[in-house]
């Protein structure tokens, strides 16, 4: 009997250990593949040229150009715009759900918000083409609504569920004692919400926004469909833009294998990877700072 128990124990341990190692291996594998496929690109392209030049024209018969600055800026614009919309709305909805809404309303709204996260990005992109595109064209009196604003709006919609859901969890996790202490001092529920609960939940809310940003920065299909994909350097939110993700998606299918162009596309992927890594790192540092202060 005891022998069986100890065998069972070790089998279970081995299973979980394997799972853990597998997760790490997959991550390391992705990074290694990305790195090894990206590095050959820099045999021909100078890194500073790659990052700081605006022109991307790898198929030019005269002189191929590999500058991705326009795409980096486009990605940052679309993502930044999305966050500008999604963060205030997301926190507002989270605060509403956790503090204001009747519990029955919350029980209906929260699952709906979470279902929103599961809408395929093609569908969201489709919305951009048939709904937001024409609307934006009409509002700003421009010929074409497929531009950075459109992408931002769509990415905001896509990152909202993450931001709402995690912020709401963070607000709910604030000990009830804080709220009671505040109310007992004669604070209104709004003062309690904004001066006690939101600050106490800030680390979670920041994490939520960072995750939302991660969702937005890596999104491909939606921006590919809705932002117009012009290669030119964007001169405003109403310009048609091509993000890094969209560019990789557009060109990877047609690029000849084992060319500088091919490797350069992976290099774009690597840059994107580094960008998200930095975002996560910064978020982590902020989180840790706040947690220290709270303890």
């Amino acid at each position: 009997m005891r022998k069986w128990a100890s065998l069972e124990e070790s089998v279970i341990r081995a299973f979980f250990l394997t799972c853990g190692i597998l997760a790490v291996l997959v991550l390391v594998g992705i990074f290694a593949t990305l790195l090894s496929t990206a590095v050959p690109a820099f045999k021909e392209i100078h890194l500073s040229e790659f990052l700081l030049k605006k022109n991307w024209d790898p198929t030019s018969p005269e002189k191929a150009e590999y500058g991705i600055l326009s795409m980096i800026v486009s990605t940052l614009m679309v993502t930044g715009g999305a966050l500008l919309l999604a963060v205030p709305i997301g926190i507002g909805v989270a605060a509403y759900l956790s503090d204001v809404a009747h519990w029955r309303v919350r029980e209906i709204v929260k699952p709906i918000v979470e279902i929103l996260a599961g809408i395929p990005s093609v569908v969201v992109g489709f919305l951009g083409i048939v709904l937001f595109g024409p609307a934006i064209a009409k509002i700003f009196h421009i010929g074409n609504g497929l531009n950075a604003v459109n992408g931002s709006v769509l990415l905001a919609i896509m990152s909202l569920p993450t931001i709402i859901s995690i912020s709401e969890d963070a607000l709910n996790a604030v000990p009830q004692a804080y709220g009671e202490a505040s109310l007992a001092l004669g604070a209104s529920r709004w003062q309690t919400l904004f001066r006690v609960k939101v600050p106490a939940a800030l680390s979670g809310i920041i994490a939520a926004c960072m995750l939302g940003m991660g969702r937005a920065i890596g999104e491909t299909m939606t921006v590919l469909m809705a932002t117009g994909n012009a290669r030119a350097f964007p001169h405003g939110f109403l310009s048609s833009v091509r993000t890094m993700t969209a560019n990789v998606a557009i060109e990877l299918g047609e690029v000849p294998y084992d060319t500088t162009h091919y490797y350069a596309l992976f290099a774009i992927g690597l840059v994107l990877f580094v960008m998200t890594f930095i975002v996560n790192l910064v978020a982590d540092v902020i989180l840790r700072k706040y947690q220290e202060r709270e303890q």
């Binding site: 519990w103 000990p175 004692a177 804080y178 709220g179 009671e180 202490a181 505040s182 109310l183 007992a184 001092l185 004669g186 604070a187 209104s188 003062q191 001066r195 006690v196 600050p199 106490a200 202060r293 709270e294 303890q295």
Partner: protein, 256 residues
């Protein structure tokens, strides 16, 4: 139950309280006299916490609850439509069972109640913070570390910080909901001393599990059981010569 001294600051008349269908308070009539300490004692689940939380309408925030009967503060019904609950809670402060400082600095914890009322003047704030900390007998221990996080304090210090925080908004009544149940005996002694000094300027109501504590700090004692007020009288009388048999059995430790 014939207690007639002083002016009743708070008076409850046939107070009933319901959590959904469950009746937690049954026709409770208690008077809390001005500048006196009133203790509420009774076994667990007898409704004493529920009772004290009705006095500043803290139970309002619990969904599905209902109050019947009247609570008078200075003769005015606290449930009257023209009573602002925020204003009520400013006048009737509360210290909770577990110390619950905000995750902010010691200074900011105490300044909170003033800041939400729009006080911005730094010097005035400092003045009140110092006065409140002195009032809560905590000043000497924290005067050099006002910028430190309140969580760095010990449990007993945190509880006195919460008392200081309540004092800062200058309430008329302070409600203590088992303020010593989560802190050690030495800290308890400090809080008890403090309560006795507070009586000079405030009306104090304290819920306690600890009968010695009630005997030590209070002028009046109410004994509750199963949501009902069993006996209410001068503390000395309750502890030496109670009228009701149940009270006698409880204070002599035969149940509870």
């Amino acid at each position: 139950m014939n207690v007639e001294t002083g002016i009743a600051k708070i008076e409850t008349r046939d107070l009933d309280f319901y959590y959904g269908p469950t009746r937690a308070l049954k026709r409770v009539n208690v008077s809390c006299y001005k500048n006196r300490v009133t203790a509420i004692i009774g076994p667990s689940g007898c409704g004493k916490s529920t009772f004290i939380r009705t006095l500043n309408r803290m139970n309002d925030v619990i969904p599905g609850t209902r109050v019947e009967g009247t609570i008078l503060l200075d003769g005015k019904d606290v449930h009257a439509p023209d009573v602002d609950v925020v204003e009520l809670r400013r006048r009737v402060g509360m210290v909770f069972q577990k110390p619950n400082p905000f995750p902010k600095s010691i200074f900011d914890n105490i300044a909170y109640g003033l800041r939400i009322n729009g006080m911005k003047d730094k010097r005035k704030l400092e003045e009140v913070v110092v006065r409140s900390l002195r009032g809560a007998a905590l000043w000497e221990e924290v005067k050099d570390r006002l910028d430190e996080n309140a969580f760095a304090l010990s449990g007993g210090q945190q509880q006195r910080l919460c008392i200081a925080r309540a004092l800062a908004v200058e309430p008329e009544v302070i409600l203590f909901d088992e303020p010593c149940s989560a802190i050690d005996p030495i800290a308890t002694a400090k809080v008890e001393d403090l309560i006795e000094t507070l009586e000079k300027s405030y009306t104090v109501v304290i819920v306690t599990h600890n009968m010695q504590q009630a005997a030590r700090v209070s002028d009046y004692t109410a004994f509750m059981m199963l949501g009902e007020l069993v006996e209410f009288d001068v503390t000395e009388k309750i502890f030496t010569n109670p009228v009701n048999k149940l009270t006698e059995e409880y204070i002599t430790g035969r149940f509870g």
